[in-house]
Assembly symmetry: C3
């Protein structure tokens, strides 16, 4: 084996490890939601994430990746493997794991009252078309044009190393119109009061957070895409932003386990964009501020504005992702010990452009879905829970009287209701 063979093989392995780690993160999305919803909607969380993953794979392969990078895989297998041991296929897999985050992020915001298939369709449109369009502007085949436009204003290209903006902010801002169009869960707010709905399972929520946190090191480190560009600094900055997020959430939430486990994720969302450029202690601060944004922002969102964002995804991914895009324009500066080279204006422009595209696209798609096939479950389906109404099974069948009986009693009760 020659050195070049070894380099090629190692690159395939390197990027594949990243893809596998981020694929595993989708289990994290699933369990974070399982723990954060009521027991009657746990199965729906699991099936949504798995289905969105599967559908994203197909649409991103056939439509999305060609939009983003101008590369089609509709050619014989021996041509796919001809020169690079399948590296381009693995690069598709790696970038798919990013695209598939979009519906996974949205899922947590629309939980417990969105219809199953409409949310699958919206996710397919985003992973197959809208996200790839924005991806093409920042990282893909249209980046030369868009980045030179940004550079002409801000003096540097917009830099988003591992997707604070392209992935997280984009997904979070897409979730906002979905949440607003759906409206709050039944019983969440009365005219004057807020009635938080108790979550079901903190250990599952924590398991989801852990799976996400572990996989995130693949998200950020393997964004190098070539082993020769690996950076230990990316790993350590991810670590410190996560730790900053944990510690700040711990203090300001007064030991609340939900905020602490999400605080780790807030730090990680924020650090992606500049993870290759911060000093570790600056990353700590960026992650800490991310946690403040999440804890305070979630409270304001749900209690002041009465927006029923079940897992707080608009704040966690949308606002904190935007913070990550902007923060990298500040805290990567050499006066904070960073590598420097970014423009605050350019970072701001790139961040705002994601918000504009996501908000516009999100409102359009969810509005059309809502007006045509309908986006929200019926009142009785919501009352019954999406597990029984959509999946005909409860999460813990043995504990109840079983599917049939539950359905029977539901039918009896619903007769009275209707």
């Amino acid at each position: 084996m020659t050195l070049n063979n070894l380099i090629q093989s190692s690159n395939v392995l390197f990027l594949l490890l990243g893809a596998i780690m981020i694929f595993a993160m989708h289990a994290g999305f699933a369990f974070l939601e399982v723990g954060s919803v009521r027991r009657k909607n746990q199965i729906n969380a699991l099936v949504k994430i798995l289905t969105d993953w599967a559908v994203s794979t197909v649409v991103y392969f056939l439509i999305g990746f060609p939009i983003s990078y101008g590369i089609s895989f509709i050619k014989p297998a021996n041509q796919l493997m001809a020169t690079d041991m399948g590296f381009s296929l693995v690069r598709f897999f790696f970038l798919l794991t990013f695209a598939a985050c979009i519906p996974a992020i949205i899922s947590g915001g629309i939980a417990e009252r969105a219809k199953f298939w409409p949310q699958v369709i919206a996710g397919a449109i985003f992973a197959g078309v809208l996200y790839p369009f924005f991806e093409s502007l920042i990282w893909g085949q249209n980046s030369a044009v868009f980045q030179s436009f940004i550079k002409s204003i801000g003096g540097a290209e917009f830099s988003d190393y591992a997707g604070s903006v392209v992935v997280h902010s984009f997904g979070g801002w897409l979730a906002l119109p979905a949440i607003l169009i759906l409206g709050a869960r039944k019983g969440r707010y009365s005219k004057t009061e807020s009635h938080p709905i108790p979550i079901s399972n903190v250990p599952f929520l924590a398991l989801g957070s852990w799976i996400l946190a572990v996989g995130w090191f693949g998200f950020n480190v393997m964004s190098a895409q070539n082993l020769g560009d690996i950076s230990g600094l990316v790993a350590i900055n991810s670590l410190f932003a996560m730790v900053g997020g944990i510690i700040v959430a711990l203090i300001i939430s007064k030991n609340d386990p939900v905020f602490i486990h999400n605080g780790a994720l807030a730090g990680l969302v924020a650090v992606c964009a500049g993870s290759n450029l911060y000093h570790p202690l600056a990353a700590f601060i960026v992650g800490g501020i991310a946690s403040i944004i999440f804890v305070k922002g979630f409270t304001i969102e749900t209690e002041v504005f009465k927006v029923d964002d079940v897992l707080g995804v608009f704040v966690l991914h949308g606002l904190v992702g935007s913070w990550g895009g902007i923060a990298s324009g500040i805290f990567t500066h050499k006066i904070f010990g960073g590598m420097g080279g970014l423009s605050f204006i350019s970072q701001l422009l790139g961040t705002v452009s994601a918000i504009v595209v996501a908000l516009a696209g999100g409102f359009l798609v969810y509005f059309l879905i809502d007006k045509t096939i309908g986006f929200r479950m019926s009142a009785s389906e919501e009352e019954l829970g999406s597990d029984l109404s959509t999946h005909s099974l409860e999460a813990y069948p043995e504990e109840s009287l079983g599917v049939v009986n539950s359905l029977d009693s539901y039918k009896e009760n619903s007769l009275n209701v209707v």
Copy 2:
């Protein structure tokens, strides 16, 4: 460090990562069963998988690996490490993870009524002798003879890149005699009717499925066994077969979470054999058909034939594994965009040979066990559950009155029963 040193080190790391990932899959087997059985048999699922792993390690090391590959490790440690940095040891570890799948596959079929030690003994015989014998014919020291026999008939060797046939089908067909000899769980069928027994925990079932799906990329990709032979196509085909399995299961089961999470696994079982040769879209079809076989086959097995295969392992691993062996003789053809080179007849022959060896060996072993030490728990043990009867503990001790009280009340009740 020279290039050759680096190649050797990288190979050790590459294959070890595969071994670790597949070791982790055994936790997936455990949780898939934990979620699919009743609460009174959850501990037994966990202990069976861990014990089978441990016993498989010992017997495959001492007996099995020498049978398969003619290599013994009964020599001083410095000789084991002399020339290859321990690569041959890691290769043992990697191939052990395959062998140990045999009892792990069977476990799910015989759940909730098989005695603990008899199933351990059967697993030891399979992992230590029967599986290595078959492995030696296809991949090991006797493959020259057997493969040239197959080639003389079919025109090509039998190809099973990552074990659809050698591992999954072999394990699944071994499970069938075990399930038949045991008979159905008490209460599962009356003379005329079928009474499905509610499963305990869908989130744990889903966790098991996720762990298996993630680790599967190690199963298939690291089957290259050398970093220099890594193939991105193997990874992407695994992905697409899994996704095909998910989507088809979703549609034909009408959103059933159990079928969807097992559908992902059906796709992965089927793709192993030809994962290095399919076009991704052909892999999608192979995985989709695998899900049809699983969903329909499980219903026919349990409802028409009234075979109480608790997790459906005969269908999921046996039939779908056989499908994987045969499908690779069809869908790897160049007209489906594949790499070509396989013979349908040879794939059929190899697949059938696994069925013959597994069925014959399985009936013999389980028949002898049943007639000597007995295979099935007593009626009262089954009623109590294997957790209390075999492990003297319940899965959630705090929730019950505690071990002692439960055992006491059990003894009081059983006095009346006996």
Copy 3:
């Protein structure tokens, strides 16, 4: 890319994979404790582990690593990345995962009655100062002096390849004074009798054990710290010690799931020190004896001495870790098929030195904490559970009447109590 670039990149990846795997182990610590405590203390287990991780990261970065290795990271990011692609940063991450095990080990011993912040402070002192001090003697900047002292007595340096003594034994012996100073949980012992407190959740306990076992291969294999020093023998010895631990625990505990899942860990704790030098079958014996020590030791500790070590961490990490240090002085000998080269006297000396430092430091720190800010929760907090008293939330909020109601009813009841 030159060969040297590839070697450097591969080293960063290799050590980073180890760091990520051990980071994941901390989720294992968390779930092992979640399953082993009562439901009212599950959240506390989760938050303790995450908080201890975060605090350990900060103190080990600022204080600990400089103490151990004389390297400071308080310099601009471009200097941190200047020559090694961030390898030194990743080495910090890897060694941090060891340091952070110290509070994670202790956590399981002091569960269900230790105050939150005092245990955080003690963990910070250990991860930031005491552990780095001992680490510096064995592996770090003061090892030349200390190891030559040991060599002058025992004839060889003290060898601890992956931390049986430096990490596990040190953590376990630190836990002993904490457990003794705290005293037993309310209701655990009456004057004459022992009343074991039922654990809450065996599947979560098993999940924790699995996560730990899988990550352990990173712990041991990546202790090579350079890809060029990778050893397949280390992996296989870890496997065999784990398997020895499982099988022996299974037999002597008569199928007890708690002992079996902890037995795997006992084998892994014991093997670390000599994992690069044993023959696999000798590692099996070392792991098997580790399980005997754990099963018998835990029973003696809790039933004879009435020391309420909730997860048995003093035995599992302290005694078994010490056994690992000593065993490597015996079973790595060439007469047991090992690589040889260690001195029994030196291994004994190194092992005893860890005990002395840990016991002295542990008593001092916990005594001072207990006498100043207090270490133990109030009786009513303990009765209520640390989840509600410290984190204002229950692990399964939906199942109870919700946080507010529980707190209200608690306050009503506690009025009567106080």
